[in-house]
């Protein structure tokens, strides 16, 4: 019942797949990939629309096709995969408890762990919509699973709240199935999904996007019968005079994603309040040595391509941890923080030594949309580098590549700022 493993990857979605492959490539012999669903690929398998892989493969693939590239590659490798197996506990000693219908309870002592559990969607409750609690209120991802995997249509007259990418994609998907999509309502003054998805999924199908509007109430005893829509002001306060009622049988929610870090918390890994993911250094190592995190469990990404790239960083780092005596010499440690107009930055710390890659990519989100602006990287004294951007949006993750040689040797802090206007 108790086994030992060099590397256990928790989660067989795009992050887990890429991390396991990269660790294998870098020489790790003993890898176990654990996936709770009955197939690899994670949420990609229900994303049957295209648009995946433009960055990573220079091709436009569907979700299952994108996943298949990695799954195919995995097949030739000596990587053990356990499907339909759920990790239920991880502790600080890297002891993993897993459960499956094939093997029951298993304890695995891992030398190194890569956390790749992905994220889940925020629910109605997380955003407090008043009203009744009928059938027909669901997250866009649940609807996507019903339609694309199970083959059932969950509704005919649809209101979508939130302009997250899954909501936009589902607006088109439902329209294609003949459902009446009455509109996508977004509380913010901008879409929270990719511009590309707004154009291809709403504009091309004549589905309206209403900004600064939200659902104020849900009606219906058994099944959703209608919702109240209300406009909000710049402080997100509802303007009650604008309230109107829309008949519908289904309310789809696409109101944000939350990294799934219940296991990380059990293991006492420190989390970032803003991203909801673990606090990591540039190798994606958490504050438990030998435990790494990548993909949407670390920060919610817009593009799977970025997930794959990030996971390679974690896979490579896990390999180095396992193969190089597990002792990382730190010559310089820096905190990375979000400055003016920035919501968060990943990684949270930099632990530099002679082996550190010469270029470190910093990922972050801006607080508000801006045009003709500049990203400035500073330490506590001076600007180290700046990068111009024609346009930035909170809905699209930004990154800059910072050459390590620009970092001052005596500095212990890096600040990322967005500078707009007049400069």
């Amino acid at each position: 019942m108790k086994t030992k493993r060099e590397l256990v990857v928790v989660g067989g979605g795009p992050a887990g797949l890429a991390a396991a492959l990269e660790a294998h490539k870098k020489g790790v012999k003993d890898i176990l990939l654990i996936e709770r669903d009955e197939y690899l690929g994670g949420i990609l398998q229900q994303c049957i629309h295209n648009g995946f892989g433009l960055d990573y493969f220079n091709e436009e693939l569907t979700g299952p096709e994108y996943a298949e590239r990695f799954i195919d590659e995995l097949k030739d490798k000596n990587i053990d995969v356990q499907l339909k197996t759920m990790v239920i506990d991880i502790n600080e000693e890297k002891l993993i408890t897993a459960l499956s219908s094939k093997d029951g309870i298993e304890f695995i002592e891992a030398e190194s762990i890569i956390l790749a559990m992905g994220c889940r969607e925020r629910t109605r409750e997380a955003i407090r919509i008043p009203g009744t609690r009928p059938a027909g209120v669901m997250t866009a991802g649940a609807a996507q699973r019903y339609i694309n995997i199970e083959g059932y249509l969950p509704g005919r007259e649809i209101v979508i709240l939130g302009s997250g990418d899954i909501g936009l994609i589902m607006a088109r998907r439902l329209a294609l199935e003949g459902a009446d999509v009455k509109g996508v309502f977004e509380i913010m003054p901008y879409s929270s999904g990719l511009v590309r998805n707004k154009v291809q999924c709403l504009d091309d199908f004549g589905i309206p996007l209403y900004l600064q509007q939200t659902v104020a109430k849900i009606y219906g005893q058994k099944r959703v019968e209608a919702v109240d829509i209300v406009e909000v002001d710049d402080n997100l306060n509802q303007i009650t005079e604008t309230k109107k009622t829309i008949q519908c049988d289904t309310l789809l929610l696409s109101v944000g994603l939350i990294p799934e870090n219940e296991l990380s918390q059990q293991a006492n890994i420190s989390l970032d309040d803003i991203t909801g993911g673990p606090i990591v250094d540039q190798t994606r190592e958490t504050d438990i040595p030998g435990v790494f995190a990548c993909g949407n469990v670390l920060q919610v990404h817009d593009l799977v391509d970025n997930v794959s790239e990030e996971s390679e960083i974690a896979g490579k780092a896990a390999a180095e941890y396992l193969l190089n005596d597990q002792e990382k010499e730190i010559e310089q440690a820096l905190e990375v923080s979000a400055g003016e107009n920035i919501t968060y930055v990943v990684p949270h710390t930099l632990n530099l030594n002679s082996k550190t890659d010469p270029i470190i990519e910093l990922f972050f989100r801006v607080k508000d949309p801006a045009e003709d602006c500049k990203i400035s990287i500073k330490d506590n004294k001076e600007e180290l580098a700046s990068y111009t951007r024609p346009i930035v949006e909170p809905g699209e993750i930004e990154s800059v590549k910072l050459p390590v040689k620009l970092i001052n040797k005596d500095s212990n802090e890096i600040i990322v700022e967005l500078i707009t206007g007049g400069e």
Partner: protein, 509 residues
């Protein structure tokens, strides 16, 4: 239509109706219970604070005061028999001033004069030790160690199952339209599924008790008083250690904060009268009210931690809807009608005592009713339910779950990821005779889909298991009964229609 004769007919499958059914099931009587919804615990019993009060709130001259005090000690035996989660975590009524302190001392003395309840007034330092993160200005509290927390719907369901195991017939989706009586004697009831005959009718219809009573000429009105709640993610369940009340007002015990037996944190309820007995709407205003109420007691309430908001209705009888007593009595006319109405707070806490009281009332009228009965205990009566395995109970000794798994490998497949509910647990519940094929019923029994993702992942999977077990199409699976189907139609024949092929396979077997 139904020519079967019963000794006792119980209207209503809430915590009170099922407590009565279970209490009476130890006798050699034929008993039927009628519930209009798809499941027991579908009304007031599914949405309340889940508190077993110590019993000091109400005067001993009132039924609710006396029955609460009588009932509180009974819970240890009940939950041990029925395997219902229950914890005596104690309650604190928190005061913020010298004036509050005097009121609490007075409250304590008043209570002690009436009953032997363990009560203490504790000062700031001890209060801090018990609840380190309470508001700074909380300086005194009335501490009642015997108060407890329970799952109100699990209790109700367990009572119903145990009653059913002991021979009580439980008729779900059966709405009682009229109580039948002849020459001042009860003869039966008329329902949407025909007539049922019996000489005793117990009216435990909760919010609709007035409608039932009206059919025998009783004239009173049940007025719903709403309470709204927020339920927080399990990671916040340990923020407080006790049931924490503010100073009580005229209307209610106030907006409380408590851990639940399942490990969540519960905040609520507010209290206001509504017109509509189906009004379970959660309001913006209500949510704000409970939020600010909670903040006063506990300033660092986690804003993003709410996983569910809901409302429940208390069934009050006015004149004074905020302070009225239970109405429990056997009518002189017609003989055989027992009213158990106006069971608002502390109705859950008083349910065992109410059942005992109804038992005494039946004994009193047993020879006067149309078909007299004798209350003879039956030797086969078994007060206990089996404990079903739950992975969540094995947190500290996971290795022992392996044995459960070895008996049935469905216990190795986790369906609900947030609450760690296995397929084995879900099937075990579905195999019980009382389990309705709805997502809500399963949620109440197993917690599947009751966690932080609220069914986002496991909803489709649970629907599939229900469809398989009941041999129905996923299109027929509902949230909480007909009309609340979760799916509308098949998309296309993108894969073989599982429900059809499934049926075919079953038939061939």
């Amino acid at each position: 239509m139904n020519d079967k004769k019963y000794d006792i007919l119980i209207v209503g499958g809430g915590v009170v109706g099922t407590a009565i059914a279970r209490e009476l099931s130890k006798y050699n009587l034929s008993i039927a219970l009628f519930e209009k919804e798809t499941d027991v615990a579908s009304g007031t019993s599914k949405a309340n604070s889940g508190i077993i009060h110590a019993g000091y709130n109400a005067s001993k001259d009132t039924l609710k005061g006396r029955l609460n005090i009588e009932s509180n000690p009974m819970f240890d035996q009940i939950v041990s028999d029925l395997k219902v989660p229950f914890k005596r975590i104690g309650s604190l009524v928190v005061g913020h001033s010298q004036e509050d302190k005097e009121k609490l001392i007075l409250e304590k003395e008043k209570s002690l004069a009436q009953a032997d309840i363990d009560l203490r007034v504790i000062e700031k330092q001890e209060l801090r030790e018990k609840e380190p993160d309470l508001a700074e200005d909380a300086i005194v509290a009335l501490y009642a160690p015997n108060a407890g927390i329970i799952s109100p719907y699990k209790l109700t369901i367990a009572q119903a199952e145990n009653a059913a195991n002991n021979g009580v017939e439980i008729h779900l989706q059966t709405e009682v339209k009229q109580v039948l009586h002849e020459n001042n004697y009860i003869t039966g009831i008329k329902t949407n599924k025909g007539e049922f005959y019996g000489s005793v009718v117990i009216n435990a219809a909760g919010l609709y008790a007035d409608k039932i009573a009206a059919t025998v000429g009783e004239n009173y009105e049940i007025v719903p008083r709403k309470g709204e709640y927020n339920l927080f993610d399990k990671k916040y369940g340990s923020l407080v250690n006790h049931v924490i009340f503010p100073m009580p007002s005229e209307k209610s015990k106030g907006i409380l904060i408590t851990p639940t037996v399942d490990g969540n944190l519960l905040l609520g309820p507010n209290s206001y009268v509504v017109d509509d007995k189906d009004d379970l709407e959660v309001t913006e205003q209500g949510l704000n009210e409970i939020w600010s109420g909670g903040k006063k007691l506990y300033p660092s309430l986690p804003g993003g931690g709410v996983i569910s908001s809901f409302a429940g209705l208390r069934a009050t009888i006015p004149a004074d809807p905020y302070n009225d007593d239970f109405k429990i009595e056997a009518l002189d006319k017609p003989v055989g009608f027992i009213d158990v109405a106006g069971i608002q707070s502390p109705g859950l806490s008083s349910a065992p005592g109410i059942a005992k009281m109804v038992e005494r009332l039946i004994k009193d009228i047993s020879t006067e009713i149309k078909a007299p009965i004798s209350l003879k205990e039956k030797p086969t009566y078994n007060p206990e339910l089996d404990k079903l395995p739950r992975l969540d109970d094995y947190k500290d000794h996971r290795e022992d779950w392996h044995q459960v798994y070895q008996e049935d490998n469905n216990y190795g497949e986790i369906v609900c990821r947030c609450e760690h509910v296995t397929k084995g647990e879900i099937i075990a519940e579905l195999k019980k005779s009382l389990a309705p094929p709805t997502l809500d019923a399963l949620k109440r029994r197993t917690r599947a889909s009751g966690g932080r993702c609220q069914g986002g992942f496991c909803g489709p999977r649970i629907a599939e298991i229900i469809a398989e077990e009941f041999n129905i199409s996923p299109l027929e699976v509902t949230k909480n009964g007909p009309g609340s189907e979760i799916l509308m139609e098949r998309v296309k024949d993108i894969k073989a229609d599982r429900d059809i092929t499934y049926r075919r396979q079953k038939d061939e077997n």
